[in-house]
Symmetry: none
Subunit: 224 residues, 2 copies
Amino acid sequence: MVAALVGDPARANMLTALMNGRALTASELAQEAGITPQTASSHLAKLEAGGLVEPEKQGRHRYYRLTDDDVAGVLEGLAGLAARTGHMRVRTGPKDPALRRARICYDHLAGDLGVQMLDSLRERNLVKQKKQEIELTAEGERFLARHLQISPDMLSHPRRPVCKACLDWSERRHHLAGTLGAAMMRRFAELKWAARDATPGSRVVNFTRTGEKQFAALFGNGKD
Amino acid sequence: MVAALVGDPARANMLTALMNGRALTASELAQEAGITPQTASSHLAKLEAGGLVEPEKQGRHRYYRLTDDDVAGVLEGLAGLAARTGHMRVRTGPKDPALRRARICYDHLAGDLGVQMLDSLRERNLVKQKKQEIELTAEGERFLARHLQISPDMLSHPRRPVCKACLDWSERRHHLAGTLGAAMMRRFAELKWAARDATPGSRVVNFTRTGEKQFAALFGNGKD
DNA sequence: TTCATGCTTCGATGGTAGCCGAAGCATCGT
DNA sequence: ACGATGCTTCGGCTACCATCGAAGCATGAA
């Protein structure tokens, strides 16, 4: 059972460490979880058997990453359920509001801005959403090409969908995942609109001043 | 952590039983999970503390339901991850393999044979199923009258539906509940095709040799 | 080759939590 | 009032599994 895998604290720590999308070595994950390498090895074997993580051998290291963003989505969902038990007490610390506003979910944008972006796309018929299924419209393709230099052929992937709705734990609404979500986040970084926080392991995404403006111009909802 | 709650097999069974949206009493959930009421009570308290289920007091019963469809969504996501690796639950809960094959679920037949029976009914257009709704067809009524001496007027009940799909935890598919499911199980017993196990409290249903044959003749799928 | 690093396997230990029997409340029915 | 039913609490038992030390393989470096 998958939930039992996520249930163990040590494994949960490893998975959250992997939520930022980067691959980490077994020893790094061990340190992250506060356990010895032997124990981590056992855990990672189980996570791999459960299909939650994938190993990649490189020299004498083994890099582990989340299998795909479906896994990331479910983990976000679980975090959301957990957050609500604490009765929003998660308000502690100055880093938290930043995490709510914009963060990395595996490899795409999440948080307030992520939700706002998908809202905007949907509202202007650039995508059509039915439950978890999201489809890019013809207008959407034109929009992406014009404003973000993203072409459809950049998005095709053998096993991963172009668009997918991912449940956002802080907003309790959907944001955009899939190869498009990843490509857009990548473009934001390339355009220097936003960058991942420098502190290692952080999932916070910091927008530059101009980035914030440009983002608002494309996906603004008038409230900002 | 929430995942640990879902991780336990007994609790997971309860939650999947609640996935149809209806509220179930604590004892029904105990039966579904194959555990005693004491144990179930402990589990339900934890699930409630974790915000996954909500109790509703009604007379001397306590009905439990999933808190909201966010919870259901996350559970479905977990099931999706589990399904992908063929990593379905075969874990403990009920320890008895006989319990997997045929058992009582409240008052009707569950387990492998229960699922097989509903499959057969559906396949031969004796019932029509749409999601959790099941409807008896005219052919179905004739079939029941001819082979099991069950007439429609035996099945009417003020508050209970004639047919209902009940999620089978061991098979993770539906079997037949409702007054019809109960009536059929009763008839099987009367015909001495099957009897509940003698050991008190057991939910195992033992089929006789002739019963097994007759059952296969009516609801066989060729595999037996 | 020889040593060092990264990771895995093996074996033993301990803590935790699921489980049930027995008993205790509450509610319902008569 | 009395017993029956549904659910909970308590206490003890047991099984599972995470954990770590030590040893075993790899790979890379010298």
